[in-house]
Amino acid sequence: MNKYVTMLKTEIKLSFRGMDMVIFALCLPVVVVVLLGIIYGNQPAFEGASYSFLEQSFGAISTISICAGGVMGLPLVISDYRQKKILKRYKVTPTSPILLLTVQVSIYAIYSLLSLILVYLVGSLFFCVRLPGSVGIFLASYLLVMLSTFSIGMMVGGVAPNMKVASIVASILYFPMLIFSGATLPYEVMPTALQRIADILPLTQGIKLLKATSLGLPIEVAWLPLVVMVALIIICGGIAVRFFKWE
């Protein structure tokens, strides 16, 4: 069997045994969509809006899993595998540790996509969520937000000297992002002052992009988020590649 497939199969099993990602990337987003659905029902996003509050929140909720995988899962697994010298073991095989990292990135991408599908199914089946935006453009934006968030995780995992530092940095990034970027607590209900602070977080920008593309809003609103996402990929990805430590 192809080595990528064999490793993917094994590493997915290991990840499922860990349960963290099942809870934080698969269950949590569904819980949030159900809660918002129950609280807001079919209320419009604002007076005279053509879309409901929940529809507006869809883009945000879909990033909870990206956030969990990219900022929590990925850096922890990378620093764990380095600390346990698993990456080093791959250096004395015909493949390189890059294969193992590629497999890990694939796993978190799979979690994100599964979560996206779950959130959409729950939203559309139980709360009449209808998204007028183009599926293709939305998915492209989703991929972009995923890549930029994952590049933050690669940077933290690649540069952190040990598991402890990685887990502290991951927590510092994860919890504010989860709560203040609008992924769980809707941006629209935040007071203006808090919105200003939220705007600094890169995921907030990503979520704006996803909201615009899911609702089919004009793309001019999206240039700033686009720039932020691409800049993140270049800066964090660059640092990760340049300063990555195998041991």
Partner: protein, 242 residues
């Protein structure tokens, strides 16, 4: 006799401290070579520089005619390695670790046979974490043998094994040796070295203070067994008397 491992002028220092200097080594095909030395003498650094996981400051290494850094992919199809600490995930089972490692090689040995051979077949469904020290050590030897290698590096071969397990590992290695496997091992156990090794080298403060056969080592010393001879060479034999 063909030369399988050839090391010339290998040196490495960390932060200005020379850990190994000017190591010369030649190991023939099908030979078992034992690297001896106290903890901190530079054994692991020597092995890592030979394998290319650390970059040597100077010197050249050839294994099976290949360079361990430049021809890494080609080389490690034919070379198995057991590090002193072998890394594995917390939640991985024995057969999964074997399967995941085997898939990396173009022509891997059958891990089920190896697990049987090393008395681990009953444990194939267990978590690696739950194995005893000796079982883990045997599993790591199995992993090193998975590529069906021509050369195998075993760092601290039987540390943590009980007497019976050690003997069974020796027996398996002797069988592999008869099939032409070249073995590079490091060990603290002189009985094991006497049973397995054709040639040995004793490392002290980063230099070889002896290279040759076990018999030559004993003859050069005033003693009649390898353990005493080893302590004599390393200058550690009198510490107990003082």
């Amino acid at each position: 006799m063909d030369e399988t491992i050839k090391v010339t002028g290998l040196s490495k220092s960390y932060a200005g401290n020379k850990v190994i200097s000017n190591i010369e080594l030649s190991i023939g095909t099908g030979q078992v070579f034992g690297l001896l030395g106290a903890n901190g003498a530079g054994k692991t650094t020597t092995i890592e520089c030979i394998l290319g996981t650390r970059k040597a400051d100077a010197g050249s290494v050839s294994i099976l005619g290949l360079d361990s850094r430049k021809d890494r992919k080609q080389l490690f199809e034919q070379v198995g390695v057991q590090f002193q600490e072998t890394g594995y995930s917390d939640k991985i089972k024995v057969w999964e670790l074997c399967e995941e490692t085997a898939c990396l090689y173009r022509k891997a040995a059958n891990y089920e046979d190896l697990l049987r051979q090393f008395d681990l077949w009953e444990k194939r469904g267990a978590f690696v974490n739950e194995l005893s020290g000796g079982q883990k050590q045997r599993l790591f030897i199995v992993l090193a043998l998975l590529p069906d290698p021509k050369v195998v590096f075993l760092d601290e071969l039987t540390t943590g094994l009980d007497t019976k397990a050690r003997r069974s590992v020796w027996k398996s290695l002797n069988t592999l040796k008869q099939k032409g496997l070249t073995i590079f091992l490091s060990s603290h156990f002189m009985d094991e070295v006497e049973v397995l090794c054709d040639t040995i080298a004793i490392l002290k403060d980063g230099n070889f203070i002896f290279t040759g056969t076990v018999q030559e080592a004993i003859h050069q010393s005033p003693y009649n067994n390898l353990e005493e001879a080893y302590l004599w060479f390393t200058g550690e034999e009198e510490t107990d008397d003082e």
